[in-house]
């Protein structure tokens, strides 16, 4: 969590000045060839991660999980249980690390904060009329402030996909900037902002690349694939394109932005594929919970099972891991 808000990058003043200049810039980004991008992602997915590398990857993956519950049926009890799980994913093994965060709706942020206390596990709240984002800006900002006031360390906002697909990039940009402002706390600190694209709705990799740059220029700390409510959610090639974007953005500005694939990552095997991709595309600087997260719920137990398999040498079963 940064203590002060970074000033928006002056390098992009010319770009973000008008709708026209923003469009020129975004449409001037190199295209993404779908077949090539998917082939590259599939190629990286054939990496074979064994023994010590696998142990490292499993623990890192656990530390990167934003343990998520985003259901209409969520209750304080459910959120407290999830928070307990986040702090001690494997009660039988004290060496098992905690997850990065618990991810909840804004009205549950206070409960989660209370439950997590000073454990170091962050509270992430999905604000801005998640998941559709179909609300007036002041409502989105109020939603954000609510969550921040309740103690959210991180805000996961959704972009206005309708505006984006209609080419109203300035609108999307301004909204991100406004939400980012709303992340400030009175004490001068600021919640980290993750910007969700809902790549399943943006559909093309060219759009994903453009949305990535748009969000990064608007000051996003993280760019995130999906809400988990739309299929397809996170995929390897979408994440590849986003990792290339944060890599290129750092080349240009010197500023690092994090990446969070969310939704559909259910197995340790999948998670390791993502980590390989982070390692080889963005680089090892991103192999850190500050810069890469998994938005997931069932993933955690599979990571724990694989972790136990590494330790005991035998396959475990779901009965041996808690369900929250």
């Amino acid at each position: 969590m940064s203590s002060t808000s970074t000033i928006l990058d002056p390098a992009f003043e010319d770009v973000t000045r008008s709708e026209a200049s923003l469009r020129r810039f975004l449409h001037g980004l190199p295209g993404v060839d779908q077949v090539g991008a998917e082939a590259r992602a599939a190629g990286l997915a054939t990496r074979s991660i064994k023994t010590s590398a696998k142990e490292f990857a499993l623990d890192l993956a656990i530390r990167m999980v934003d343990l998520t519950t985003l259901e209409g049926q969520d209750t304080p009890g459910k959120v407290r249980a999830l928070s307990a799980k986040a702090m001690r994913p494997d009660p039988s093994d004290p060496t098992c690390p905690a997850t990065a965060a618990v991810c909840v709706y804004p009205d549950m942020a206070g409960i989660a904060k209370q439950a997590l206390g000073t454990s170091g596990v962050h509270v992430a709240a999905v604000a801005t009329a998640f998941p559709s984002g179909r609300a007036a800006l002041d409502i989105k900002l109020a939603d954000t402030r609510d969550a921040v006031d309740a103690g959210a360390d991180e805000i996961d906002m959704v972009i206005d996909r309708g505006a984006f697909l209609a080419g109203r990039y300035q609108h999307v940009y301004d909204e991100i900037v406004a939400v980012r402002e709303a992340c400030h706390r009175e004490n001068g600190e600021s919640a980290h902002l993750k910007v969700i694209f809902e790549t399943g709705e943006l559909q093309t990799y060219d759009n994903v690349r453009r949305a990535s740059w748009l969000a990064m220029m608007a000051g996003a700390h993280f760019i995130k694939t999906s809400t988990g409510k739309v299929q397809p959610a996170a995929t390897l090639p979408v994440t590849l394109v986003m990792l290339q974007a944060v890599r290129d953005f750092r080349e240009t500005t010197g500023r690092m932005v994090g990446v969070k694939p969310a939704g559909g990552i259910r197995t340790a095997k999948d998670a390791i594929k993502y980590l390989v991709m982070v390692n080889e595309v963005a680089g090892e600087d991103w192999l850190d919970p500050d810069w890469f997260r998994f938005g997931a719920s069932t993933l955690l137990n599979d990571l724990l099972m694989q972790r136990t398999k590494m330790k005991t040498g035998r396959y475990s079963g779901p009965d041996y891991f808690t369900l929250d």
Partner: protein
């Protein structure tokens, strides 16, 4: 974080292959001793001797050609196409069944990464047999005349870069069309061809339809020059190809030649840049650059040259070089000491001619034959490294300003096997494709192979096509 994500070794097990101490020749359906001396085949990654291989002399070659002739006359030419097809389908299936064994053996003998032998070579080998199996009973539909007939006995000589794949490219269409074959694998990579002989036995292929004679240049000459062969198919160097063309002059032997190349990989400023970088890497570092159609000349538009090279170098730095049997290896061993010597020599010429060498900083194993992924910038058309085939992981980078200049440079070579074009503008792709004097043009991709797609060169890259419907023509009259 103290612990970076260092991939632990992930070696593919060798237990799946059973290499015999020595191998004979495969003639008339059985393994027989050769009359010549024997030679050793080694693993280029470790220089470990893998097996003793019989060297076929003229008498052995003669026996193989006679066996092929008898099989042709008595069995194969009389078999209906649909029955020939079933043998080829069987072979395709056995290759699929024994795919890991073939992949491991190929990587051991050739030095290529298991990732490639497993995911590229062997699957395409099976697909090639499967595809041509389907043609065996459909030849009258192939557009090569109403009553196409086989040529007879085909003499086939293949190189060491894709040992089993080149075997498939030769044997599958020949057999589908009703020919019988005598094939000579390269002396440094005979093992998968000999395992293929076992596969022919498992498939109950009639004796003599496929004969494998191992040996070096002398064996190849004896085979190509044998008066009993009706067809010569060769893949290898342009120099040897020319010698073959001379040697068959005045005979009725039909010839197809698939020879060297110096392909231009042309990147325009509007290319999908990340995929272009991948395509450049695939183009020149796939199979250690031991690829006749390798994109060994990068032609990049000046306006993006600096950015592209930076990205390329960063990407090259993530290539993993080492044990070919490690599943995470991207770059394996150079196939032989002799080839390594040639790569080194030409690279030194590049230095001497004033090009700037950049190579990936990596530790080379002390045993075996290794050469790091390398690129030369500041290369001009006049440099030898822009004109001669290095056949190794060495990329020569040139720049251009306009499409016309790119075309001029791309075509300014005696070779004409392949080319690559990278741009998001469709009409430019087609303009470049139609003006490039090359047998295969890849647009926004590179080094793609498929049994349905014809492959072969213009100019000194050879003549004839392998693959696809066109590939049948070489084996029919």
């Amino acid at each position: 974080m103290p612990s970076p994500f260092e991939y632990a070794p992930a070696p593919e097990s060798r237990a799946v292959v059973d290499i015999k101490p020595s191998y004979g020749l495969f003639i008339n359906g059985e393994f027989v001793d050769g009359h010549g001396a024997s030679f050793k085949t080694i693993s280029p990654a470790t220089e470990e001797v893998l097996a003793e291989i019989a060297e076929a002399d003229e008498a052995d070659v003669d026996a193989a050609v006679r066996a092929a002739r008898t099989a042709y006359d008595k069995v194969w030419s009389r078999l209906p196409g649909r029955e020939r097809a079933k043998y080829l389908y069987r072979i395709a299936r056995i290759i699929q069944e024994r795919s890991r064994e073939l992949a491991v053996l190929e990587s051991l003998d050739n030095g290529k990464p298991i990732k490639e032998s497993r995911d590229v070579d062997v699957p395409i080998v099976a697909a090639h047999f499967f595809y041509y199996a389907g043609w065996a009973d459909k030849l009258e539909y192939a557009g090569h005349g109403a009553d196409p007939r086989a040529l007879g006995v085909a003499a086939q000589v293949i190189p060491w870069n894709f040992p089993l794949l080149m075997l498939a490219w030769k044997i599958a269409p020949a057999l589908a069309c009703g020919n019988t074959v005598v094939l000579k694998p390269a002396e440094t990579t005979p093992l998968t061809a000999l395992l293929f002989a076992e596969i022919c036995q498992q498939a109950d292929l009639p004796p003599g339809v496929v004969n494998i004679v191992t040996g070096a240049g002398g064996t190849g000459q004896a085979l190509v020059g044998h008066p009993g062969v009706d067809k010569v198919a060769f893949t290898g160097s342009t120099a040897v190809g020319k010698a073959i063309a001379r040697s068959v002059a005045g005979t009725s032997k039909r010839v197809t030649l698939e020879l060297g190349g110096k392909a231009a990989n042309i990147v325009f400023d509007d290319a999908p840049i990340d995929q272009a970088v991948e395509g450049i890497v695939d183009g020149i570092f796939f199979n250690q650059g031991h690829v006749c159609c390798a994109g060994s000349r990068l032609l990049v538009q000046e306006s993006i040259a600096e950015d592209l090279l930076e990205r390329l170098k960063a990407r090259m730095s993530t290539l993993r070089m080492g044990d070919p049997l490690d599943k995470n290896t991207d770059i394996g061993a150079i196939n032989s000491g002799e080839q390594l010597k040639r790569i080194r020599e030409l690279s030194e010429v590049g230095d001497a001619e004033g090009a700037e060498r950049w190579e990936v900083a990596c530790e080379l194993p002390t045993k075996g034959f290794w050469f790091p992924p390398t690129l030369f910038t500041g290369v001009s058309q006049a440099h030898r490294i822009a004109r001669e085939e290095i056949f190794g992981p060495v990329l020569s980078v040139l720049t251009f300003r306009t499409p016309a200049e790119a075309l001029e440079k791309a075509n300014n070579t005696p070779y004409g096997l392949s080319a690559g074009v990278w741009t998001e503008k469709g009409s430019l792709i087609l303009k470049m494709a139609s003006s490039l004097r090359a047998g295969v043009v890849w647009a926004n991709t590179f080094n793609k192979f498929d049994p349905t797609s014809p492959f072969g060169g213009y100019k000194e890259s050879g003549y004839g096509r392998e693959g696809g419907r066109h590939g049948l023509e070489a084996y029919l009259k």
